[in-house]
Amino acid sequence: MALRRVLGLGAALGRRSFCSKQPLPPDFVEALRAVVGAPNVSTATAVREQHGHDESMHDCAPPDAVVWPQAVEQVQELAALCHRCRVPMVPFGTGTGLEGGVNAVQGGVCFDLSRMDAITELSLEDFSVVVEPGVTRKALNKHLRGTGLWFPVDPGADASLCGMAATGASGTNAVRYGTMRPNVLNLRVVLPDGRLLHTAGPGRQPRKRAAGYDLTSLFVGSEGTLGFLTQATLRLHPLPEAVAVTTAAFPSVRAAVACTVQVLQAAVPVARIEFLDEVMVEACSRFSKLELPAAATLLLELHGSRRGLAEQQQQTEEIVQLNGGSSLAWAKQLEEREQLWAMRHSAWYAALALRPGCQGYSTDVCVPISRLPDVVVETKQDLQDSGITGPMVGHVGDGNFHCIIVFNTQDPAEARRVHAFTERLGRRALAAGGTCTGEHGVGLGKRALLREELGQEGLDTLRSIKTALDPHNLMNPGKVL
């Protein structure tokens, strides 16, 4: 509780405040059991605690009960029941979010949707597939093995695809393949009162449409506050014929970021371009037992046909040379490439390993590419001035970077410094014309910054939409708004 206050998370912008947790009505749990069967309902403390937190450091807020629906009709019945009794509902996929999205701050029922795990309607000519919440992105890609297609959105964790749609997830491949938003063609949503909505119409997956307001885009990134995403139609992409990965060390942060900007301006269709500052590189090298020089580093991946790839490699090498970067050693074998990316994906744990016993908090600002060098350099200076351990890692191709702040949550002075730093960073990004959250979502912690980012009219419009779809504020209350 104290930590949340310190980080300025106490102010709720919704109608309910943190303290209005109501006990479940009598016979409610029995009614839940009547819908899904007793084995699919739990009020055990351990189970509720498991469902009350994600990978962020927000305090665990367990729901009053957890249910496992097996089919969408059950989700509808359960939602209608909760709606009648005014009980809050929290959707749960894999619990790998980073903003406290599943924390049941007002109690209620957690809907664990992982048992609904069908992969259906795979179309190799239409490049689309339909998945339920229990399907994770790695499971989908393994299922697609042998078809020549893949789903490229890669946030690092093996997250539920519907969960990724709910948070508008992104990742290392977004610079070329896009975030979740352009890759979700249709959603089957259970609204808070139990009605079923297909955002692009039932059974449709047009690659483009101009039919009415874009409901699919509304629900992508809604973080469980507008309804349950019980099925998603996803856009698939062809696997690249040839892939090459390399690291490049630079004499300064500015040189590395400038190189990124130039690679994009040269229209090299880079698939992934990740930045690691020297603190992050050292932490990752130690953690993953690789030997990379401790300098501002770029980790790049190129996709293309065999001949096209060679041309991209040459272009990239020239630009890296121009910015004073090291010579490039391209990895082509799957094992070497996986090793480099595993090192990058374990950045979170590598950062935590710098100060064992401390907790981690990741910032997530995203700014226009033109402003990126300045914002990154200023942020780095701010980190040093504030004496905060915050290795930086980022999808610089999108202008998005994370400071993984590792600090002792029990030390109020340090916690205050961290809080002040994140506020300054958020405002710095907003002042540069960017956003306070590029991919992690608003969740519990960024609601105050949302008003600054969108303005009063923006926030009021969001509230109107929320009230229209969820007038009793039962869907994941306490998040986003």
Binding site: G148, L149, L239, E335
Partner: protein, 264 residues
């Protein structure tokens, strides 16, 4: 490029992610009342993971210039053609299906016999198989095949290197790693750490449709009619369902509970 021909055995198996169930039993006259097969109708199948690793190694040998031709072979029903097309998409030059009838019992001995006969025809210098199939977990085909051909064998290979007329194999054994030098021709079976297999890409899948795939009835290969199968499945059932757990207050209660369950 060395004139080294590699034969890679691949098997079509139920996909590792599928929840396997016994086939619905009975129904037709003459059927046994309890099912002795698992449900395969409408179930996702794929290339056996260890065969994928063997195939990947063969394709890498060709890319390095150490091998001149990679031939994928499978002993199975007509459905195995789709598995062979995947093998062609990954990089095999041509494929051979040694076809058996639907419902025909085909175990390691039958497969090894068929592969040995094909090896006699195609004269490869290297025979690469997966160490075992994930449906039966037999881990016998490679070994039997080597014995039938009287070729040296390097099983559980986690690293291999070709030399002139020989192959250097690093094997994963119980005590650690063992390094062998085997004279060619030899039989090798691939273990997990040999490599990370590539995914087939769309352009390669399209090219694979044009690569040659020959279908030969397995019975025709041997010359003599095949021996009747020696293995008979006696029983096939799901493991018992997991019962609820129980908390006890103290050790005497624990012992009482174990006695009642007939465990002590």
């Amino acid at each position: 490029m060395a004139a080294l021909r590699v034969l890679v055995g691949v098997k079509r198996v139920i996909d590792y992610a599928v929840k396997v169930r016994p086939a619905p039993g009975g129904g037709a006259p003459g059927d046994l009342p309890r099912p002795l097969r698992v449900q395969t109708q409408g179930v996702k199948h794929s290339l056996n993971p260890f065969c994928e690793i063997a195939l990947e190694e063969a394709v890498r040998l060709k890319e390095k210039g150490a091998a001149s031709e990679v031939i994928a072979v499978s002993v199975g029903t007509k459905a195995s053609q789709e598995t062979l097309r995947t093998a062609l998409a990954v990089g095999a030059d041509r494929a051979v299906l040694l076809e058996v009838g639907e419902g025909q019992a085909v175990g390691p001995r039958e497969v090894a016999t068929a592969l040995a006969a094909l090896a006699g025809r195609l004269q490869p210098q290297l025979l690469l198989l997966g160490k075992q199939a994930i449906d039966d977990d037999c881990n016998q085909t490679g070994q039997m095949l080597a014995a039938m051909l009287d070729w040296p064998q390097g099983t559980f290979a986690s690293r291999l290197e070709l030399e002139s007329g020989a192959v250097l194999v690093e094997r994963e054994v119980d005590g650690g790693l063992e390094k062998l030098r085997l004279r060619l021709p030899a039989v090798l079976t691939a273990d997990l750490r040999l490599n990370e297999p590539r995914y087939a890409t769309l352009p390669n899948i399209m090219k694979a449709k044009k690569k040659p795939l020959e279908v030969i009835p397995a019975a025709e290969l041997g010359g003599t009619p095949p021996d009747p199968p020696r293995l008979k499945i006696l029983k096939l059932e799901e493991p018992p369902a997991r019962g609820g757990g129980q908390k006890v207050q103290d050790v005497p209660a624990l012992l009482e509970g174990l006695k009642q369950a007939g465990r002590i």
